[in-house]
Structures are given as C-alpha cells and as structure tokens.
Symmetry: C2
Subunit: 145 residues, 2 copies
DNA sequence: TATTGTTATACTCTATAACTATA
DNA sequence: TATAGTTATAGAGTATAACAATA
C-alpha cells in the first residue's frame, strides 16, 4: 500500500500491493509531466475532458466526481489562466457551459506528450509481447469498473 | 489520460492510457478506503511508513518526497488525532523521531483491510492465472522504477 | 418547489522564506 | 557554517451551508 513498506520479501508482492505501487508510479509520472507546465493533475484532467466536450458546470462535477462548489473554484483558476472559458447556455439560463481555449488545448497536448514519454521510459523494459499482455489485462480490469 | 476521453475506439486503448486509467481506479479505491476512516491518502501513507520504522522528520520527508515544512504540518495533524507521536532523538538534540501509536497502527490496519476488499472486488473478474500474470508484469515495471 | 451555479467559510495539503536551536 | 525542525504566509483543492436566479 505504501511504496517500500515490505520488510518480508520485496520480490514477492501481492497483486494488490503491486497494483497500489504501480498506481503511485503512474501518478508520479503524471505529476511530473504536469508540474513542468505548472498544472495540477486535476487541472490536466479538466483539460482532457474538455478536449471533445462542452459540458455544463454540473456535468463537469459528474465527470470529475466533485461538488459543484469545487468545480466553481477549479474553473475559476483555469479561466484566470486563459485555459477555459465560460459561456451562457442557450437552453437553460441558469446553466453555464465550459469550453477549452486554443491555449488550453495546446497546453493539454504538451502535457499528454510529456506523460507519454515518461510512461515510455517506465515500460521500456518490457517486450512488445509483455506490453500487449499488460494492456489486455489492464483493460479487462477497467471494463467492469 | 483522462478516464473517458476516447472518442475513437473505447476497447482499443493504448497501454499508456490503460495504465493511466488503472492508476485512477486504484487511487479511487484507496481514497474510498481511507475516507471511510476520515483519513487522506497521504496520512495513510504516513501510517504505512511508520508501521515498521521510527524515522526523523527529515527522513520522513525523504520517504514521502515532501518539504520539511509539509512534514511538520502532516505530523501535527496526525499527532493531534493521537495517531503518531514525536519523541526527542537520543543522538542529535536537533532531531525529532516520529513513531506510530497503538491507535494509529489499528487505524492503519483497518484501512489496509478495506482497501484489500475494494481491490478484491476490482480484480474479481480475472482468473487466478490472469491475476498471477498481472502481478508479474506489474512487479517487472516496479523493479526498474 | 427544485435545480444551477456562486459565495462564504473552513480544513487539508503543499511550498518558500525566515527563524531557532543544535551540530 | 551547516543542518533539523518550526513558524509565517500563500495558494490549490476540497466540502458544507446559505444564497440568487431560473425552471
């Protein structure tokens, strides 16, 4: 659960421990990729969602699993940096639609590229066959989630 | 990189995307396991590290990759809840040693148990052979990290 | 009345800079 | 001088509760 907490056999981790440690490794790579552009992981997720959507604040809360008041602050900070914009909804005058700006899209692409590079380094010790097997297994886990 | 950002083929994710999504799934399971006990992930990691160590504040910063001032706050909050304690170091009068209390150890065990249950649910659709293969591959990734 | 979004408030987490005490 | 730790301060991120505008 915590990286090097194993006093027993370091090379005989359980599946649960291995997946937990792997999640920290991947999140670390993501954090490094985003930090270089002064972005947090949650801001990067926001840009990723807006890449091909123009949701309302409310829908954004659903995607990110956050309270609407948290979304207000998140979008405030992104908008202040010129990465996203708010527009009035045409059908519901209470609602606000959020869209990505060109600057936001460009920044999101840069972060994604850097993340892919970090992940390529992490997976570089696997053979192509192993990579394919890992992808298949990971996708099987995601399917039911 | 972000959960359902794929407009192309949902079942043909790249390895990088699959690992990224998997990391969010696992971190989500961890967050759920900890939230039930009013603990954050970082507080849980702290308890995990202290399970079999009695580091100084400085060493703790190394384990967690945080600035010393962040460690001060982290330990402050855990100590206020009776989960850890500070003791003076015997060899260096500038240093402070941090150890876990019985309450902290107990809470850490409860969270670990709940996390394992969540992870068991997530991996329940895999066969034993698949689980073993996934563990092997994940460990190969961790080895070089 | 119910829903959408914002505001006020509070807390955790994190970092930088300045400081104290010890080495 | 250098190191260990704390304090002061600032900002991101999150939630709850109260509110205004609209449905």
């Amino acid at each position: 659960m915590t990286p090097p907490t194993d006093g027993a056999q370091a090379n005989d981790l359980s599946l649960v421990d291995a997946l937990a440690q792997l999640s920290f490794l991947v999140q670390g790579a993501l954090a490094e990729a985003t930090a270089g552009h002064d972005l947090s992981i949650i801001q990067t997720r926001l840009l990723g969602i807006l890449r091909d959507r123009e949701p309302t604040m409310n829908e954004l809360g659903g995607y990110l699993g956050l309270d609407k008041s948290s979304i207000t602050g998140l979008v405030d900070r992104a908008e202040r940096r010129g990465l996203v914009r708010r527009t009035a909804s045409a059908r519901d005058r209470r609602a606000v639609q959020v869209s990505i700006t060109d600057a936001g899209r460009h920044l999101g692409e840069q972060v994604a590229l850097k993340f892919e590079q970090r992940m390529a380094a992490i997976t570089s010790r696997l053979t192509n066959a192993e990579r394919a097997r890992l992808a298949t297994l990971a996708i099987r886990l995601l399917d039911r989630a």
